[in-house]
């Protein structure tokens, strides 16, 4: 039996049950649609018949929405619709990749802390407490400033700032799964620590982690927008919703549409991910039917 055979997926029957529960949850479906819509937009950006997001036009500075510029144009005459779509790529990518970074670091550390307990656990838990004591955004800003301004560094900074949440969540889940008879049974059969962690504990702690990840994507998107707003994320002239807001704040009076579109998009995507996460949490909870 190889690792490939032991997928992290839920057993087939309960997969069907989770899906049917999820489908009945209307707000979760709305969330999934919003996320899906923006995701598709970001993926298809290069194929869509839209203007070059970087092309400037001195004849169309801060034009309000009109047939030519559906969402208006910005302070150097770039098409805001096009920048919104390309910006979705940066925002969603930043959200997803930073959460992947947070999970790849946080879950194994939490697994080790919960599984081995004792001193290992004490050291890791105190370290996590220290990290959690620092406000999420402050830490992300500090890390991003330290690493230097760029989108990829912003992702790393956000990911590392979100990591402690995953350490703590995973550890707590492991502590409860660890007491199950099948874990002791695996020891009695002669399996090693690595096997037990990978095949007996990890698959059984995954559902709440997936839920947390979905919710954290929303936070990470806001964080990316904040960092870009501060100039620590996406660098000009490449578009991202946060950096668009950053520029727009100077023209709030003259060109409010420059701020409204990216603001609304961030708002929608964050709500979408939150609804999706809540729906997943309900669907994956075995106590409810």
């Amino acid at each position: 039996m190889t690792a490939a055979e032991t997928s992290l997926a839920l057993p087939a029957r309960s997969q069907a049950r989770v899906w049917s529960k999820f489908r009945r949850n209307r707000s979760a479906l709305v969330g999934a649609c919003i996320v899906g819509f923006f995701g598709l937009l970001a993926l298809l950006a290069p194929l869509l018949p839209i203007a070059d997001p970087l092309a400037t036009s001195w004849s169309a500075i801060r034009k309000p929405p009109a047939p030519e510029y559906l969402m208006g144009s910005d302070e150097i005459g770039r098409d805001i619709l096009s920048r919104m779509i390309w910006g979705a790529q940066a925002s969603l990518l930043a959200g997803v990749i930073s959460v992947v970074i947070a999970m790849l670091t946080g879950v194994p550390i939490g697994l080790i802390a919960g599984y081995f307990g004792g001193w290992t656990d004490t050291v890791i838990s105190r370290f996590t407490d220290a990290l959690l004591a620092m406000p999420f955004l402050i830490m992300a800003i500090a890390l991003a400033a330290f690493l230097g301004p760029s989108l990829s560094n912003a992702m790393i900074a956000i990911g590392l700032s979100a990591m402690p949440v995953f350490i703590r969540l995973t550890r707590g889940q492991v502590l409860s799964v660890k007491t199950e008879d099948y874990v002791e049974g695996a020891r009695a059969v002669g399996l090693g620590h690595l096997d037990i962690m990978r095949r007996y504990i990890l698959p059984n702690v995954v559902p709440p982690i997936i839920v947390q990840a979905t919710l954290t994507v929303a936070t990470a998107i806001i964080a990316e927008a904040s960092l870009s707003f501060l100039g620590l994320g996406q660098q000009a002239p490449a578009p991202s919703w946060g950096s668009m807001l950053n520029v727009a704040k100077n023209f709030l009076g003259q060109a409010p549409w420059m701020a409204i579109w990216p603001g609304a998009a961030i708002f929608l995507v964050v709500i979408g991910f939150n609804l999706l996460g809540d729906g997943l949490r309900d669907a994956l909870d075995p106590r409810e039917h």
Binding site: G185, A186, V189
Partner: protein, 603 residues
């Protein structure tokens, strides 16, 4: 004719499922008169608990549909509005549940929780309430009630908590008490005390009792009339004497035949398979005893000497423990190939810790363990892994002993692969063969554990460990959570395997009747020590230690005509084995009664 307190007519309960409504209780009718005890008995899934929840309207109305009539002293409960129902629950009808560990609020003192019921249902003043609480606690025979009234639930043992629950139930002077498996989670001696208590209280107050249980012994002990349920149908109702003496319905006869009875093994030299009972026809086919030879002159497969396992409790400023739980203290015994040695005793006596210490799932403090040529306590790394092929374990709870994320095939094949016994297709073929050996279809290999029943899961767990060809299996309460008929089947499977493969079992159980059936030898444990060990017929036929005698006397006998013949047991708690730091265990002497029957001398 006295009017009944509760009269249930054509009660039908349906649950919403994926495809429409499924009836789980169909047309159940019975009555309970004042001062009478009616038992609803059945196996899991028979609908007995759903019946009681339907009566009390405790099911979620969105997902459950209840029809029929439930008359409580002339009021139809099913037609009452929810607010009126709240006035009835805990007041005219009180309930006690199975889990005394979770049904009390850990944040409040016991006295306050009983007092709350009084405050809600009476208009007594504060000091009157306290006096009444004290009176109730004394009535349910809680020793030192005056001192314990201000203690918290965690300071009470399971049996004492159940007494607190009963005191809360009695506080409102209910006309009807519904007891849903109130003694199932308790030790057998405590169970006897609680049953006695309920009977005494009933005589004092004249309340009616509806008693829900799966245990025919308990039914015989307490019920005036009995309702037998099978898959949602009420198959038979009648006086308990008649049901036990001449049941009409084949299922009732089957259920009675499947119940292991203490004392049924007198004159049997070998462990005896449970008879095969056909649940539909009630036909009973006796099966032969287990005749494999046990050579007690040869080398034991397991030899334990002076095993001691302790757990630290609390810690002071320097990190030193306040004391230790002396879970296992100076334990010595041998187990020969093909033999079953049962460890019996009540919860907290250290029987599970013994099993885990032997397999090094817990590190013992001292002692020597020889297992199939391995010196277990000195093993490390790869030797420990090889030892694990010789000794295996089957756990109690079939719902937590299998990894829910692995198919049954993966579960069974995994040890074979990990120990390099076979690879790839060969391993899969072996797994299929093992499943067939435990009576499961190899076609089930790709299913997940949640698709199986409790008994089937326990078979999977057995198949998994069989793959390693173990010489010793530690069966830790492996059949305790199963229904009687399934319990008998799994025990028979274990005995079949023993006869065929010569496996030795360390059979850990609190169920004396099952132990009597399956064992060659029995060891009785009390507070971490073996107080009596010997051949099964000697320990059961001629118990010498007072604790053994008490344990055997406490087992409910499924025979209503022998009710009340035994015990008037004092309300007492199991002592705990926590000792202060620096405690030295006293020296123990054993008396040899011959044939390996040893009894600890009482000091």
């Amino acid at each position: 004719m006295t009017p009944s307190v509760l009269s249930v007519e054509n009660l039908t309960t349906a649950f919403q499922t994926g495809d429409g409504w499924g009836e789980v209780v169909r047309n159940v009718s019975f009555t309970v008169k004042p001062g009478e005890t009616v038992a609803i008995v059945g196996e899991s899934g028979s609908g007995k608990s759903v019946t009681s929840l339907s009566i009390m309207r405790l099911l979620d109305p969105k997902r459950a549909r209840v029809s029929g009539r439930v008359m409580l002293e002339g009021t139809d409960l099913l037609s009452l509005p929810e607010s009126a129902m709240q006035q009835i629950r805990g007041n005219r009808v009180a309930m006690i549940f199975q889990e005394p560990m979770t049904s009390l609020n850990p944040a409040f003192t016991v006295g306050r929780q009983i007092g709350e019921v009084l405050a809600r249902h009476t208009d007594l003043g504060k000091s009157q309430i306290r006096a009444e609480v004290l009176r109730l606690m004394e009535r349910v025979r809680i020793p030192n009630a005056a001192r314990r009234i201000d203690e918290y639930p965690h300071q009470f043992s399971g049996g004492m908590r159940q007494r607190v629950m009963i005191a809360m139930a009695l506080a409102s002077r209910p006309r009807l008490l519904i007891a849903d498996e109130p003694t199932t989670a308790l030790d057998v001696t405590i169970q006897g005390q609680i049953l006695d208590l309920i009977k005494e209280l009933q005589q004092e107050t004249g309340m009616a009792v509806l008693f829900i249980t799966h245990d025919m012994g308990v039914v015989a002990e307490i019920a005036d009339r009995t309702v037998v349920m099978y898959r949602g149908d009420c198959v038979e109702t009648g006086s308990t004497e008649r049901i036990f003496a001449q049941a009409e319905h084949p299922y009732t006869r089957a259920l009675l035949a499947a119940v292991p009875r203490l004392g049924s093994m007198v004159g049997q030299d070998h462990p005896l398979r449970f008879p095969r009972v056909e649940m539909d026809s009630g036909r009973v086919n006796a099966l032969p005893p287990v005749l494999n030879p046990v050579d007690r002159q040869g080398t034991p497969v397991l030899s334990v000497r002076n095993l001691t396992t302790r757990f630290a409790v609390g810690s002071d400023l320097l990190g030193r423990p306040h004391g230790h739980v002396h879970a296992v203290e100076n334990l010595s015994f041998d187990l020969w190939p093909g033999e079953t040695l049962s460890l019996v005793g009540e919860s907290g006596c250290g029987k599970s810790t013994t099993g885990r210490s032997i397999l090094r799932l817990i590190e013992p403090q001292s002692g020597a363990i020889q297992l199939d040529g391995f010196d277990v306590r000195d093993l490390g790394g790869s030797d420990l892994r090889r030892m694990r092929r010789s000794a295996q374990m089957i756990f109690q709870d079939p719902f937590s002993s299998l990894n829910p994320r692995m198919t049954v095939g993966q579960t069974v094949a995994e040890p074979i692969l990990k120990h390099g016994i076979a690879k790839g297709h060969q391993a899969r073929a072996m797994a299929a063969d093992l499943l067939a050996q435990v009576g499961l279809s190899p076609a089930m290999m790709d299913r997940y554990p949640h698709e199986f029943s409790g008994g089937q899961r326990q078979r999977v767990a057995i198949a998994r460990v069989l793959g390693l060809g173990p010489k010793l299996i530690v069966a830790d309460e492996s059949v305790s959570a199963l229904d009687v008929s399934v319990k008998a089947q799994v025990c028979n499977l274990l005995m079949d395997l023993q006869e065929r493969l010569g496996i030795a079992y360390l059979f850990i159980s609190h169920d004396m009747a099952v132990v009597e059936r399956v064992s060659h030898r029995v060891a009785v444990m009390y507070l971490g020590e073996i107080v009596e060990i010997g051949p099964r017929e000697a320990v059961f036929g001629n118990p010498q230690h007072p604790y053994t005698q008490k344990l055997i006397a406490a087992v409910p006998i499924p025979d209503p005509s022998r009710r009340g013949l035994r015990r008037a047991m004092a309300a007492e708690e199991l002592k705990n084995p926590i000792r202060p730091r620096g405690y030295v265990a006293p020296r123990r002497d054993w008396q040899d009664l011959g044939r390996g029957h040893l009894v600890m001398n009482t000091a």
